[in-house]
Amino acid sequence: MDLNTRKRELVNEFSPMLRTSGPLLKIWISLLLVIILMGLTAFVLQFMKGHKITGMRDNVVWGIYIINFIFFVGLSYSGAFISGVLHFFKTPWKNSISRIVEIMTVLSLVVGPIFILLCIGRLDRLHYLFIYPRIQSPITWDIIAIMTDLIGCFIYLYLTFIPDLAILRDYSDEETPNWRKKLYKFLAIGYQDTPNQHKRLHKIISIMSTMIIAMAIVAYTVLAWIFSLTPQPGWNSTIFAPYFIIAGLYSGVAVIIISMYLIRKYFSLEKYIRKIHFVGAGIVLLVISLLFGYFTFTEYFSRWFSHNTGNDHLLETLFTKYFWEFILANYIGVLIPIFILFIKKLRTIKMITFAAVIAVLGLWLNRYLIVIPTLETPFLPIQDTRPEFIHYTATWIEWSLSFAGIAAFFLFFTLIIKFIPIIPMSGIIDGDKMQAKNIKKGKNIKLK
């Protein structure tokens, strides 16, 4: 088939996805906007009244904001890692998930740091971090790492969009609004997919994808160090950095599976997102869940075996006050996905997605158990203080802002996939070209 015809065909196939907005989508976007508005109200209240309207107090200075931050940033870094690795795969099936991963990477890195801002009691002094940075402080490293990584991820995402933007610029039909056409033209920066341009673009994408793998590891390591470089029981651990990276990958792969399921279902993309993608991602999730389970066991076992007073106190809290959370996070959240993914018969699309949902919930709880119980069991005994100063419970303000963050993630995701196809058209064309090349090669071999 002629290349131009194929491109036009693809644009025609994906255009309805970009242009039409059914009632379901409108309800979805409205719901997300309502949640975000609630979150904004909560934010205004928190800004006006201060942290006293949250559950955070003198002892538990970090609440679910920091947990959401770690969770989202973990998603982003794992997305960057997976995206970078996928780029080096020459298989055609990577095309179906690569854009989901790239969008997830950037959006979670946009949403995640907002939560760290919410942890700051005096937001009016935020600029001090830039005026008086202390390079010795892991917080400063983290700011530098996140900002650098965010810019890197944006550039990478944009680079991968360019060929599709060029196709949309060249092949959009009359029904496409003018503003869209202008935006496609502006963002496509004159890309015509000439061999020279193709080579140049792929070269810089390759370099960027290599770099974002390294950056993801470095940045998430630094985030882990914010905890592990302190002597707090539950945090002071030499394996925290690799543990965080594995945990990030665990949540990242799980969120990719959930996104694949939702997108496939809503846009009827069964042709592109097939069972093989779910099974492949499921096996990756199985391997990572085994690793995550191993790291979790090692972490808690060494704490228990050390018989250190602080660790003993922490484990006692985990097995009493947080008993069910501990079981859900570290047993159910790990063993159920392993069980489902280990048995071949259970590897159906729905079951794999169910395992991914369990993994995400378990991992979020695992992060909760890393942050809160440690802050509730400090080295020095807390005397003559009110129980609510020692024990943490998130208030509706914190929950509203947390859900607003999740809603913002989904809203941005929805808006992006309304702007550019979720399945890269350029990738499909590259796949066709590769297939044609292979057939040609096969004929040659046959002739010989």
Partner: protein
């Protein structure tokens, strides 16, 4: 009624007997399981004082690891000459079962004609514990330690002699001696040799770490000698390498400046990453220029 009272009195008496007798029986049974060990020792120390020491412990007959020190037992020390015993002091055993008594260098012990000091340590016993006694005889050996550089060679010299009744020096012979230096946890032996004709000499090895000033404590030790018992001598000399204490790392979150390596590593990493961003943007500009040059109309 009478029988009722009698019955109850009998039961009460029986319970009382049981309550009071059981612990003592148990204790007696416990002690029977232990073999008492009473050992007496004397050390002539580096300042020429003499330490008398008794270790009084009970060892379980079956479980050798089960050791019970005898606490607060009064030990009497005697200096015997011929058949006469002269009480020279008493001491009570500590919680570790050790009783000690130290006599200054100028203390005059009663000495037999053969030049030996006879010492007795005695525990006179209690109702539950047998009496214990041990005697030992030692000659009063004078041990001198001399540390000096002879022809630029750091030399350890040991001189050992006894004195007769007239005060004449009699050199010690065939006496095993150990030269050690003090280290963090125990003494480290450098050389084992034999004193012949009252002297022993050896070259002090190089390269040992001393304290912050380079001082090393050198010991000469005679252990469990049949005539002299335990005799030690020590000297401090500046023959070691000064062991300077490592300076405390000044880097903290609140210190004024970060360490240089941190600046270097972070700069390299950040410059590397940002240089790549610049390179990418440069290539994007080139892409745009190439596209503009083609100037193809949309299809």
């Amino acid at each position: 009624m009478k029988s009722y009272l009698f019955k109850h009195t009998l039961i009460t008496f029986f319970i009382a007997v049981l309550s009071f007798s059981f612990p003592s029986i148990a204790q007696e049974n416990d002690l029977n399981n232990y073999k008492m060990q009473f050992s007496f020792n004397t050390v002539k120390q580096h300042d020429n004082s003499r330490l008398l020491e008794v270790s009084f412990i009970g060892k379980h007959k079956k479980n050798k690891r089960d050791i019970l020190p005898v606490y607060d037992a009064e030990i009497k020390f005697f200096n015997r000459i011929n058949e006469d015993e002269v009480l020279i002091g008493t001491s009570k055993t500590s919680k570790e079962g050790v009783a000690q008594l130290t006599f200054a260098a100028d203390h005059s012990f009663l000495i037999e004609n053969a030049g030996k000091i006879n010492l007795i340590a005695r525990f006179e016993g209690t109702e539950g514990m047998d009496a214990q006694e041990e005697e030992l005889s030692v000659k009063d050996l004078n041990l001198e330690l001399k540390l000096e550089e002879i022809d630029s060679v750091k030399t350890v010299q040991v001189f050992a002699f006894t004195k007769d009744s007239l005060g004449n020096k009699i050199p010690a012979t065939e006496t095993d001696v150990k030269i050690s230096i003090g280290s963090m946890l125990s003494k480290m032996t450098l050389k084992e040799g034999t004193i012949e004709d009252g002297t022993f000499e050896f070259e002090f090895p190089k390269g040992f770490r001393g304290d912050v000033n380079g001082d090393i404590v050198v010991y000469s030790i005679i252990e469990d000698h049949e005539d002299f018992g335990n005799v030690t001598q020590m000297e401090t000399i500046n023959w070691g390498i000064p062991n300077k204490q490592s300076k405390e790392k000044a880097n903290t979150l609140w210190s004024l400046a970060a360490p240089t390596w941190m600046y270097i590593v972070l700069t390299i990493m950040l410059v590397g990453v940002w240089a790549n961003y610049v390179y990418t943007i440069f290539n994007l500009i080139k892409l745009k220029k190439e596209g503009d040059a083609l100037d193809i109309e949309p299809l």
